[in-house]
């Protein structure tokens, strides 16, 4: 079986989506079959990023209206990766987002089961890595994603608020669900690069410290920086995260 990675953070705007997309693309480039799912159903953005507005969304799958295969799109040829690259998108239409916000515990319990089934089916179809881009904080959809994941990458900004909030998540969600967890420090000062790979926070390894670089938002807006700029500091850091994920693919 493949490995499922949830990319999460306590606060918004830490770089989860940017990191998820680049991890998926770089792993696919290296030859792994990858599937990237937009689990941020309250504020979806992968459809905008990939400029795809399909007929079937993850929303329909979680509502029990279709099977998982009908919401997955093969974008391998678009990026020319060696491994296959699939995406599953969430509907950004405000009516769809409002509907998700109204869902009760019962629906979320069913959604969790459907996600487990989806994961099995995705791996049966030869996917090696399933990457879940989540929304920040303790939202139902995000915790569902964490629950089905093998690894959690918690993206943390180098500030007090981010650290204090992440500590709560580590204790009350990641550890409680017995997840293997890694911290990724993003948007940090250039000087802290040297500490990457050596530091531990809350007993968890910091597997990358990505500096804050002004050209990232522009370069990763309509294209994937990891594919267009292979030597960029950001790309180099993402490759380091790929190595950690790779270790887990072998283990499973």
């Amino acid at each position: 079986m493949g490995v499922t990675v949830a990319v999460h953070s306590s606060k918004g705007g830490t770089g989860k989506t940017c990191i998820s997309v680049n991890l998926a693309a770089l792993l696919a480039l290296e030859g792994y079959n990858v599937c990237l799912l937009d689990m941020d159903l309250k504020a979806p953005c992968l459809c905008t990023f990939f400029n795809r507005y399909p007929k079937w969304w993850l929303n329909e799958y979680l509502d029990g209206k279709c099977d998982i295969d009908s919401i997955l799109y093969d974008i391998t040829s678009q990026f020319g990766t060696k491994g296959r690259f699939f995406i599953g998108l969430s509907n950004l239409d405000i009516a769809a987002v409002r509907q998700i916000s109204n869902m009760d515990r019962k629906w979320q319990a069913k959604a969790l089961k459907l996600l487990l089934e989806a994961k099995r089916s995705i791996f049966m179809n030869g996917v090696d890595v399933l990457i879940l881009d989540t929304g920040p904080g303790v939202e139902f959809e995000s915790v569902n994603a964490i629950a089905i994941a093998d690894l959690v990458l918690s993206v943390i900004k180098p500030n007090k608020i981010s650290y204090v909030c992440t500590e709560q998540l580590v204790k009350g969600v990641y550890m409680t669900l017995e997840k293997k967890c890694y911290l990724v420090e993003n948007m940090c000062h250039m000087l802290s690069i040297d500490m990457s790979g050596k530091k531990e926070v809350f007993g968890l390894p910091v597997i990358a410290s990505i500096p804050c670089i002004c050209d990232i938002p522009m370069k990763n807006d309509t294209s994937i920086i990891g594919l267009t700029d292979p030597d960029h500091r950001f790309t180099v850091s993402i490759k380091r995260i790929c190595r950690t994920i790779e270790e887990h693919i072998g283990k499973k």
Binding site: R105, K106, Q108, A109, K113, A147, V173, L177
Partner: protein, 132 residues
């Protein structure tokens, strides 16, 4: 020790424990046979009609708030889908009887459904298609 005697001689402590275990296993099997075949035990009929019963199942926030031992059992059951107490105990490395106790507690809480096929008792997270 002279806690228990049979006609001829004193039983050793080990023999007493063995005997107790055999009795417990046989009671356990008898209880299992009382579980209705293929029908869930905790399907309660609500007063407002049968269409929408009370909320059963297990959402992730409830899972987070369960005590650790029940959470571990429920998590394993999520992964296994449908399982016997023995299957779960193999995954958690706890005694079958202990897991059976935890599973039944989850059944009473409404999170897990229990049913019988032949001689075996199966558990699954409530709301699972397979129980229908």
């Amino acid at each position: 020790m002279t806690i228990m005697r049979n006609d001829q001689d004193q039983m050793s402590e080990k023999e007493i424990l063995q005997r107790i275990l055999e009795i417990l296993v046989s009671i356990d099997q008898k209880i299992d046979r009382l579980v209705p075949k293929g029908i869930s035990l905790n399907r309660t009929t609500s007063l407002e009609g049968e269409k929408e019963g009370p909320y059963t199942g297990l959402d992730v926030m409830t899972l987070l708030s369960l005590p650790e031992h029940l959470r571990t059992t429920a998590t394993i059951l999520f992964e296994l889908g449908t399982a016997t107490a023995e299957d779960v105990s193999r995954a958690t490395l706890k005694e079958r009887a202990v897991e059976s106790g935890y599973l039944n507690q989850l059944v009473r809480m409404g999170h897990v459904t229990k049913y019988r096929t032949g001689r075996k008792v199966y558990f699954c997270i409530s709301g699972n298609k397979k129980t229908d």
